[in-house]
Symmetry: C4
Amino acid sequence: MVTIIEETSGLPEISREDIIIDGIFGSGLSRPVEGIAAKMIQHINNSGAKIVSIDIPSGLYGEDNRSNITGNIIKADLTFTFQFPFLSFFFADNGQYTGKWEVLDIGLHREAIINTESPYFCLDAEEIRKILKPRKKFSHKGTYGHALLIAGSYGMMGAAVLSVKSCLRGGAGLVTAHIPKCGYGIVQTAAPEALISIDESDLSFSVVPDLSRYTATGAGPGLGCSPAAAKAMKYLLEKNKKPVVIDADGLTILSGNQEWYGLLPEESILTPHPGEFDRLAGSSGSMYERYLKQLALSKKHKVIIALKGAHTIITSPGGKVWFNTTGNPGMATGGSGDVLTGLIVSLLAQGYSPLESTIAGVYLHGIAGDLAKKDKGEESLIASDLIEYTGKAFLAVNNS
Amino acid sequence: MVTIIEETSGLPEISREDIIIDGIFGSGLSRPVEGIAAKMIQHINNSGAKIVSIDIPSGLYGEDNRSNITGNIIKADLTFTFQFPFLSFFFADNGQYTGKWEVLDIGLHREAIINTESPYFCLDAEEIRKILKPRKKFSHKGTYGHALLIAGSYGMMGAAVLSVKSCLRGGAGLVTAHIPKCGYGIVQTAAPEALISIDESDLSFSVVPDLSRYTATGAGPGLGCSPAAAKAMKYLLEKNKKPVVIDADGLTILSGNQEWYGLLPEESILTPHPGEFDRLAGSSGSMYERYLKQLALSKKHKVIIALKGAHTIITSPGGKVWFNTTGNPGMATGGSGDVLTGLIVSLLAQGYSPLESTIAGVYLHGIAGDLAKKDKGEESLIASDLIEYTGKAFLAVNNS
Amino acid sequence: MVTIIEETSGLPEISREDIIIDGIFGSGLSRPVEGIAAKMIQHINNSGAKIVSIDIPSGLYGEDNRSNITGNIIKADLTFTFQFPFLSFFFADNGQYTGKWEVLDIGLHREAIINTESPYFCLDAEEIRKILKPRKKFSHKGTYGHALLIAGSYGMMGAAVLSVKSCLRGGAGLVTAHIPKCGYGIVQTAAPEALISIDESDLSFSVVPDLSRYTATGAGPGLGCSPAAAKAMKYLLEKNKKPVVIDADGLTILSGNQEWYGLLPEESILTPHPGEFDRLAGSSGSMYERYLKQLALSKKHKVIIALKGAHTIITSPGGKVWFNTTGNPGMATGGSGDVLTGLIVSLLAQGYSPLESTIAGVYLHGIAGDLAKKDKGEESLIASDLIEYTGKAFLAVNNS
Amino acid sequence: MVTIIEETSGLPEISREDIIIDGIFGSGLSRPVEGIAAKMIQHINNSGAKIVSIDIPSGLYGEDNRSNITGNIIKADLTFTFQFPFLSFFFADNGQYTGKWEVLDIGLHREAIINTESPYFCLDAEEIRKILKPRKKFSHKGTYGHALLIAGSYGMMGAAVLSVKSCLRGGAGLVTAHIPKCGYGIVQTAAPEALISIDESDLSFSVVPDLSRYTATGAGPGLGCSPAAAKAMKYLLEKNKKPVVIDADGLTILSGNQEWYGLLPEESILTPHPGEFDRLAGSSGSMYERYLKQLALSKKHKVIIALKGAHTIITSPGGKVWFNTTGNPGMATGGSGDVLTGLIVSLLAQGYSPLESTIAGVYLHGIAGDLAKKDKGEESLIASDLIEYTGKAFLAVNNS
């Protein structure tokens, strides 16, 4: 039985086989649901029936739910929303309320979104296609820049391999890996197209190479957090004058030396996962709080932050926000982030702006994962698959 | 000529071109066939005709044939049985009687099976699909655990490579390989997604890493049986508090130190091939006897045992038995077991119970082999192929 | 609105949406456009309309545009030319005038081309198919020669891997890589079909191997420009008596020691990119000037030069010129040139003449890139892809 | 114009565009063509016309052409023969007379073949399918034996990689590579399924491992011919008691120590290419002479010899001869022989007889090449491709 519930006078009988269409409250709520309505919501949640919410699960706010009463929000299996998703839909802790959500195009611009203070955008193929510049006939490898990846340490050279191979597939004209001696044979065997800059240390990043040869630099994957690596990281930030990509252990080192933020050129790119972000910005009680911190951190230090997750969130120094819409949980696997770093550095090396590089890199990385999933299976997807499918991701975006 | 033989009065003329339908005796036998019936069976076996047994080859018991007279059992080319196979069909030494066997679904539950003392089950895709949990949208690599594989020694690093790569394809969020120094470049080159924990020894497992970082541990592939490895193995069992997977040389070490059984946490998983099992439990005069020993060993030490073979047999501490129905003799090739170990550890790391991990791992491993066989040929199938097809095995089960 | 402009009386209104068919001037010009015609050309260029030139963009000369007035040449989006492209179309600095160009076959031989002093040719599949000799049934690996590649140094062993693998795919019967000790494991792992000649040096080319075993030699990819490598390079040129292929760092060393030209056997092959060429011949103010220098250098030193670019230009000692028509800007990526070197050396080792080897190698390399692009995406194309698609390039040419 | 020439009265006008059907002489000749018939043959050969011979090119003998007058034999472009090819068709030096040849089945057994003193056979898929035993359901890796390959030396470890990988694909249950220390990382990275037995020497084979663990042994690929390797080779032959496969440098060592033949167990397998064979047996003036020497050597030393070529010739101690009919000139590439060695050793390890192993190995190796050629192109085919296509070769034979 399909029951549309729009009012809350009396608690109907609901069986596990029913489908409830939840139209009780829309998005205009500014205080928690209480009283009879709260009882109805609890009644529906406890019924075991399938729940489909229209617009927004009743009781959920469109943005900040920190002051909400979590027990009084519909827990939908499926939510159909109109034109644009609500901000709150992108946060993992609201996944229990929205269930799977889909956007129905009803031909309108939602006023609420246009007027919101922090404008946010969903990434789609069209936007990425506009960013990507077709290669020109008379271009040469110098046209596409020279990327430097500082990555790897004893026991973690795989991170260097993954980021370097991804960087090659991202289109940079030349890619150099700066690695400790212990990784020499590993990286040259795995990525013959890459040039190698060999550190003086057997085990770890310790000496900054001459940066003048490179059009973009990324540092972090597999670096480890040894004192030598931290010292070299500082020296790198002091010498470097261009927007730089910092990931993984590079971020962990940074989180222990927050005074180094001042050394980061404007529009540098940080790509933390939530754990790394919390080390940078302190822990948060909710995803929304973390999101606010991300926005604040981007503005304060004039950096771009890509907070990785099911919907990777990109924030700019100017206070803009992009939510990624590609990717799948098969990408929750070791090395996935190293691949993203390589891809963003590759785009940056080719002359895309830091913001373009981050946006396009995050989107393409997700498409690669979505394409790989079909062939490799979600469970079995590994980071190398993302590299293998990067070319098909470019083809998919260009042909979309 | 097709001849249905249900009675045994007189020995008919049979030529090599005939097809004999054997319906002489069913499954109710409790003593060996003798007298005129035995003569008829010998007559049929010696005729050179094709023999098709219905229900069960005449003379064969449904379970324990140790006291049977082996010369007085029909040697069928093909056996059609009803609803469920008999227990005896799963044992290699009865393959000469059943020939190829197929199950015909006649819509009944066989009472004999339901009432048997040791209930056994055949694995099928539906059961595995129920075990496997779909990945959740907002999950991250931490959701899928961190597997530790202790594997490899000088001359046998390939076993580490195979188990690590399989573990990655099994879906664990992170995989760490604990290996001796001699394997460093090999494993990092082959599996860039894996982290490496490097032993102090150049040649062999000798030091147990900090286990607290890992959600599941497997030990054994390619470890060798050096005194150093044995000593470290003991220390591992002493430190470890969670169900652990022991395979290959790990089992051989255990078989020489049976007092260590007490160190194994309940529901630890042992994955011997018959030779390794016999070292653990003593040799057996028949497959049925080995099966009884397996059951007893599982109960006594509260461990799960997967005895690898054409029908891998899984026994639980509670005395339940599962027979695998996937796989093919192309998988009888070096390294096949290392791949299985990696897969089971991977599932265990993700939070599946030890029993679920063993059952799903064994079944998926067999499906991977069946899919690989079609492309690679049964003779040419190698262990790496099983890894390559693990993703397709997941897809096949999820879409079955 | 489509407007055909053949005369220049008065400046018409043109909007951004219009399409202008430029038929103002053909190819007979011998002095720059000036006066009212120049105004019309500027007017059209500034209009923002799409411009299609017929025969040649008005104002552009067919060959040498060094004395032209660059502001008074039509900048077409698309140029349709007849029967043969003009020489000027092949130079990167004229790409802004021709836009994309296509040749329409009108069934005529253009007199201007036939009578020109420096006859030039466009490579096509038919010509390459004529060069390639089908393999004979009773041939053996000795029939296909033994190629020697002197390549690689510490940090640049990937160049050796790429050229060696490409040389194998090019069809040479045997391939030997002469490499420093640091590359031993790398090259043997990546290319098990290759034999290895190991230099005395850990880091660099330093000793010339016995050349008598080899039917063709190539030197340069990843060699570095160390004094040791330069000294060994000189010794190589002194010992070698057969046409040799020099690329990459080999060319850079040569450019610092131009007195060594005399050591090059006639019909040796140089494969510079524009930067390397300018080091050899000095910088040029235009592509046309570089082209003239290339012609002159080929004649003076009796060498074949393949100047790599969107249209790779091949010049012979006899003053002939070939323009390649295959390839795409996805090939503007590190290692692409190493692959070409390996392919040319491979063909030379098989007994093709130096000119045939260069022409076929350049053409096949481009076809490999065009085929790879379809599967891998232009942005993601890497040098290894070109090797992977070499076989398909041979198949495409042979079946064309 | 098509002209059938059966008589030789007068020399007709022939133009380059004609097609000549050569029916002048059949296979019964026992002395060279002379006089007017010889003039006719020369006239036809010089005409430039296409020549199609029926049965046999006129003037050619069916077997031994050493005493023939080579100028008086028709040089056909194409020869149609009946039921069975003549022996002479398999020898490279007669390829100029037969051109491409095809066998037409006319439903007869050629008396001449049946009565010949040295009976020879052409390999076909049916014969190989009869040799290959389907894998049994309850088999395990021990069923398929344990192969030992003694291969590789400093600079030639690729030969070890290729033979080991091929041996794995051939179906052996276990494969061990005995290699010098310098190859440890290379072989373990390339073939994780293989076990490694490490020689005491860094550079070369020097110590024979315990042979009792292995069901078959092969020695030779990439061994080099150092005194240490030769000494170890002798010791191997002294210790070994089972038919052994000797290839490549193993054969070269043997050719310098012919007194060691006595150490070879009966039915050992030698797999020389023509150059290696000539070192063993002295050079020959014709292919037929070499063939006679091969027959004699097989009989004298009771060994199986597979003389590799377009039609690999296999001779047995009993004086039988098999000509292979699979393969193509794309296989004339370095490492192709190492792959064959691995495959034969693999079959031998599985319990196939030495003759079965050689016949099936040679045939499957050729099928793998024919299948690989379609995808990879004949020119670009490399030895690794043969390994990759071994499984498809098994599938093709089993499904033929």
